[in-house]
């Protein structure tokens, strides 16, 4: 077994090489970063346009939605930056190249995911941080040390929720071979995470809270900061949601990895 420190050192080494290789295509990197930046702002653009016609959306002001949006952009970034290789899993599983990940004395999820480090996701992260800070100034949120600690904890948990939803969709590759449609659906659903959950009726709100817990990617944890007096006690449980969900995802991943038999060639 390797220690966490070994893994960090190893990860750093792998990614430096990866980034060096990617930097050969500098123009592509710059255009991709710009594309990423704008595409992650598309839903926000729609909200901005809508607010030209209405004063509030289901009781939320534009600034409050902006805070939720900033939170959302930060929370989805670790998935984008660190786990982007999940999109390729169907090719590896179909073509049998996935077998190589069994032959290293490393954690397989670590080894597999370390093969990609999505640099352009950093622009999304940076934009999210700027938006979150701007919105929290406009909303007059007073930041104490405890609040900042809570923010970091909830962001950590929220990003685990996003990672878990996407990885679970990707893991479908172990059973149905082509997991692209499932991943595509998860990707589409992701866009709804910054929506105020109170616009939904019973069944949908229940689904987005308990079944596909998109609400925990941004909306619920944001409440702790934009209206802390009014949140229900269970929202404080949101850090546990992320950790629990990731544990489940890891279990499914292990099952999938153990059931994979290769292509025979």
């Amino acid at each position: 077994m390797h220690s966490l420190k070994d893994y960090l050192r190893l990860y750093f080494m792998i990614e430096t090489q990866y980034i060096k290789a990617r930097m050969q295509y500098r123009a592509d990197f710059i255009i991709s970063s710009i594309g990423m930046f704008f595409s992650s702002l598309a839903t926000l653009g729609i909200f901005w346009i809508i607010f030209h016609s209405i004063p509030d959306l289901a009781g939320w002001s534009f600034m409050q939605l902006l805070f939720i949006y900033g939170f959302y952009m930060i929370a989805i970034s670790p998935m984008q930056i660190l786990f982007d290789h999940i999109w390729q899993i169907r090719f590896h599983v179909q073509q049998g190249t996935f077998l190589k990940y069994y032959f290293r004395p490393l954690n397989m999820m670590f080894y597999y995911m370390s093969e990609m480090f999505d640099i352009k996701g950093l622009t999304q992260l940076a934009a999210g941080i700027v938006i979150l800070i701007y919105a929290s100034i406009q909303l007059d949120i007073s930041w104490t040390l405890a609040r900042i600690a809570l923010l970091l904890l909830t962001l950590f948990s929220a990003s685990l929720v996003q990672i878990s939803i996407t990885l679970l969709a990707g893991c479908a590759a172990f059973w149905v071979l082509d997991s692209y449609p499932v991943l595509g659906l998860a990707w589409k659903l992701r866009e709804f995470a910054p929506y105020p959950m109170n616009i939904f009726d019973g069944a949908f709100r229940f689904t987005f809270t308990f079944i596909i817990p998109l609400g925990f990617v941004a909306f619920y944890p944001s409440q702790l900061f934009i209206q802390p007096e009014e949140v229900s006690a269970w929202v404080y449980l949101s850090p546990l949601v992320g950790i629990g969900l990731f544990a489940l995802t890891y279990w499914v991943w292990t099952k999938g990895v153990n059931s994979y038999t290769g292509t025979g060639s």
Binding site: I31, S32, F38, S39, H52, L57, A58, V182, G184
Partner: protein, 263 residues
């Protein structure tokens, strides 16, 4: 011409392989239509109209938008980028076919596939499950023509990005950027009426609105009359001709820099 139809048929058959994907696509559309229903319901609250549109008109617009979205994605840019990387493009260029027409007809095969497997089922769901009343009017009759013109326009943009791939090799960034520009500026997600006035005026002068705003308006507000629809169709036709010609011209330049390794 027969050769091109054979290509189209081939692409249609390839599309048939991905039946599993269609189910998820329809499921995705269904969820999207529900979410937008809730979203627009809370936007309208008890208001009769916003920006001159009723809730029903706006909802038909955005829901139909999601149904045709998959249709108007030709994937020609991704396909061409793949063919450049793999070297297949050299084979096409050595055959007595026109590259632009070749790409158009293969993508038409996928168009017919998505139309029958995704868009039409989605429209049925819209009418029978969501119980949306589509108002009748001449707009409805012109819609198919407008949609075809919209498709040709969308194709021109994708083909243009594909040709840029002759220079850059990878088109990921370009494709994503193009897609986001078209999605937002064409009114695919929200009717152009909702944009601030000054922006709206500019957008009407750009080709993007002819891809989504024009055909969707014909169904959402079908009784605007010939006086509105004919100029709209004219504008669409103008952009199709202009962009087809421009991309052809660009091809003669781009093909000079193409370097194929392997294949």
């Amino acid at each position: 011409m027969r050769a091109y139809f054979a290509m189209m048929r081939g692409a249609y058959m390839i599309g048939l392989v991905y039946r599993f994907g269609f189910l998820f696509n329809i499921a995705g559309n269904l969820i999207y239509m529900s979410v937008t229903y809730f979203l627009w319901r809370s936007i309208y609250q008890n208001r009769e109209t916003l920006r001159g549109l009723t809730f029903n008109e706006t909802y038909i617009y955005v829901a139909l938008g999601s149904a045709v979205f998959i249709l108007l994605k030709t994937y020609v840019d991704w396909q061409m980028s793949f063919d450049i990387r793999e070297g297949n493009i050299a084979t096409y260029l050595s055959k007595p076919v026109d590259l632009q027409l070749y790409e158009l007809f293969t993508s038409l095969g996928f168009f017919l596939m998505s139309l029958s497997a995704i868009t039409i089922p989605t429209i049925f769901l819209l009418i029978f499950v969501f119980r949306i009343e589509v108002p009748l009017g001449i707009g409805l009759a012109i819609f198919p023509f407008s949609l075809i013109l919209a498709y040709l326009l969308s194709f021109c943009f994708d083909y243009f990005i594909g040709l840029l791939g002759f220079y850059t090799e990878s088109v990921w960034g370009l494709s994503i950027t193009k897609e986001i520009i078209i999605t937002v500026l064409s009114g695919a997600l929200i009717p152009l009426q909702f944009f601030p006035d000054a922006i709206q005026k500019i957008l009407l002068w750009l080709p993007f609105q002819a891809i989504y705003y024009t055909p969707l308006t014909m169904v959402a507000q079908p009784d605007l009359g010939w006086g509105t629809f004919l100029p709209m169709l004219g504008v669409q036709l103008f952009w199709v001709i202009a962009l087809f010609a421009l991309t052809r011209l660009f091809y003669t330049q781009a093909v000079k820099v193409l370097r194929i390794s392997g294949g």
